[in-house]
């Protein structure tokens, strides 16, 4: 739309400017400004025609708007109706490095699914590919039935996916309150969900006016998870929540994640198998950029050979 608008305006401006230039005592800037004003006014009919004829489907209101409207999606996926997320054979590059060489996974609605694997296997890149920070080059990702493979990070997040990155990535210069406020997507998000957040992480209420950088590691992790709970996300992607935390804090966090999983679906990356096995219902193992196994966590716990082979845990 902007291109047509600009083209019409610019053409008229270019056509008119020389005439005005001659008539106005050779004042080129006057000529240019008048040309631009006339160009802008002249482009209004073009804009109207464009608005009336072309984008008819954008103005249809026979169905409620979906957050993913306007995405470059390639149609509705044939997803299992119980899955909130499906990743199909994605290949992701970082620079020239081929990091994911075929990862597939399914996340059932209401479950806690954990991605397991050794260091450098591609777990974090998988989460980053899903949230759109490293879009895959091939393969596809379906969220709630829509293809989000090539959507931008802000579009994907705004469609209802919360992301808690590795190393927390809270904003250290912002207060706890501001860290929560920035995550709100519409007016009233924080007010509506703050009681749930403070019930889950009571410490945050006490620390609300402190800068994020002054919090301890555990408190920062709580803040990072709380931030993803401010808008009404359906799916949370949580990367290594137990990393660098004391066992007592890990237990608190696990209890909180269990609690929030009653309301949300969680896809977790966790290297600590003890933590992962106690939290998750399902697992996916990624090894060297490939997804190699998936299934129920209860089955994996009974299979020490697989655990030792892929996770190095005895």
């Amino acid at each position: 739309m902007l291109i047509i608008w600009a083209a019409v305006g610019a053409t008229l401006a270019v056509l008119i400017t020389p005439t005005v230039y001659r008539n106005l005592n050779q004042k080129p800037l006057d000529g240019l400004i008048i040309g631009l004003i006339v160009g802008i006014i002249g482009s209004v009919p073009g804009l109207l025609v464009f608005w009336l004829l072309l984008p008819y489907r954008f103005r249809q209101s026979d169905r409620p708007p979906h957050p993913l409207d306007g995405f470059r999606w390639r149609g509705v996926a044939q997803m299992h109706s119980n899955n909130i997320l499906e990743v199909r054979d994605i290949h992701t590059f970082i620079g020239q490095f081929h990091i994911l060489e075929g990862v597939s996974l399914e996340v059932p609605r209401g479950s806690i699914t954990v991605i397991l694997g050794r260091n450098g296997a591609g777990k974090t890149t998988t989460l980053r590919s899903i949230i759109g920070l490293n879009n895959p080059r091939s393969g596809s990702i379906f969220y709630n039935g829509r293809n989000i493979t090539h959507a931008t990070a802000h579009e994907i997040a705004a469609s209802g996916i919360g992301y808690v990155p590795e190393h927390r990535a809270i904003f250290k210069e912002l207060t706890v309150r501001e860290n929560l406020e920035i995550a709100a997507r519409k007016r009233g998000d924080l007010e509506r969900n703050q009681q749930f957040i403070f019930d889950l992480f009571p410490d945050l209420q006490r620390l609300i006016d402190l800068p994020g950088g002054n919090l301890s590691g555990g408190q920062q992790q709580m803040l990072a998870i709380a931030r993803a709970l401010v808008p009404d996300n359906d799916l949370l992607l949580i990367d290594e929540p137990s990393e660098g935390l004391a066992p007592v804090i890990i237990d608190q966090l696990m209890a909180a994640i269990k609690q929030l999983a009653k309301h949300k679906t969680v896809l977790l990356v966790e290297q600590n198998f003890r933590v992962a096995s106690r939290l998750a219902d399902r697992y996916v193992i990624i090894d060297d950029g490939h997804s190699v196994m998936s299934g129920d966590m209860a089955d994996l716990i009974k299979n020490p050979d697989v655990i030792k082979r892929y996770l190095g845990v005895a």
Binding site: L29, D30, L133, H154, A157, E178, E181
Partner: protein, 341 residues
Amino acid sequence: MQNILQKTMRDPTWQLISWMLGAIFIFALVASEFNIGSFSSTLLNGMLRAMLLFLVAAGLSLIFGLMDILNFAQGGYFMLGAYLAYDFQHPDAGSLTFGESIADPTLRFFVSILFAVIVGGVLGYILERFFLRPLYDRPLFQLVLTFGASLVFLEGIKFIWKTVPYTWREDTIFQANKFNLFGTTFEWYRVFIIIMGIVLIVLISLMLRRTRIGIIIRAGVEDPEMVRALGINVRAVFTFVFTIGCAVAAFGGAVAAPFLQVHIGLGNLYLLGAIAVIVLGGLGSYEGTAVASIIVGLAWVAMERFSISYNIGAVWGDLTPMLMLALVLLLRPKGLFGEER
């Protein structure tokens, strides 16, 4: 309040700032040959220079902090603002005749400032939206592009207004009224600019602290990727900040036009000063930019006064920001409020 003051004075950064300001005051006193009238004139002109530097540097700093782009065209927007305001105010000169429809020179002056701000903002929007945006993944190309844009500004200005410098002729109510301070006469206009600069520092600070867009900008300075992952369209925020930064620079040029000679070297002069300011203040730090503007502005004018009083050559004044920049890079590369980047 007393607690905040005590805490601030215990902070090593603020102690360093107070030492620097103290040294500059003593230097200004020496430069003024201990004449109180001359000293007050140095301080007033120093504050004036500081506010103009701030108007260029504020945009430069916000844009760098958020987008990691050093916008070399920022000086061009300042210069364009000065030319547009001058031309609008003087219908008999330059290329614009619209101004003659407004008879009252003071009203015409306000309209000329508004005109410069709008044109600066629109050109800033165009530069970011259509030229810089496709180059977000290529930082070196962005640098070359903004440098190229500064050259386009320069050549465009030469084409429209030629290379002849313009001196403001028409007095508005601000320039016509003067006051006397320790035997030296000043225009009220200079005080007006200083007050306007301080108001702008406070307004931008409030915008950054109290509004949602301000919180997003501060968060974006820390970690733009995480802001995207929260569902915020960072590119729209980039466009907003770039447009505002350019409009503020054009505003600076417009308000400076009545007492600066409007010439084609104006952009580079203030761009270099502003670069010294943002490095001294700490790249991307808004508070740092505000404080460093005052330090560099005062030091710059004090050195100009010194070079006149002791006849050491006029070049030392304009060299001062660069000398300060070199000193900062040697002694405290992260600047006053900055973090290692």
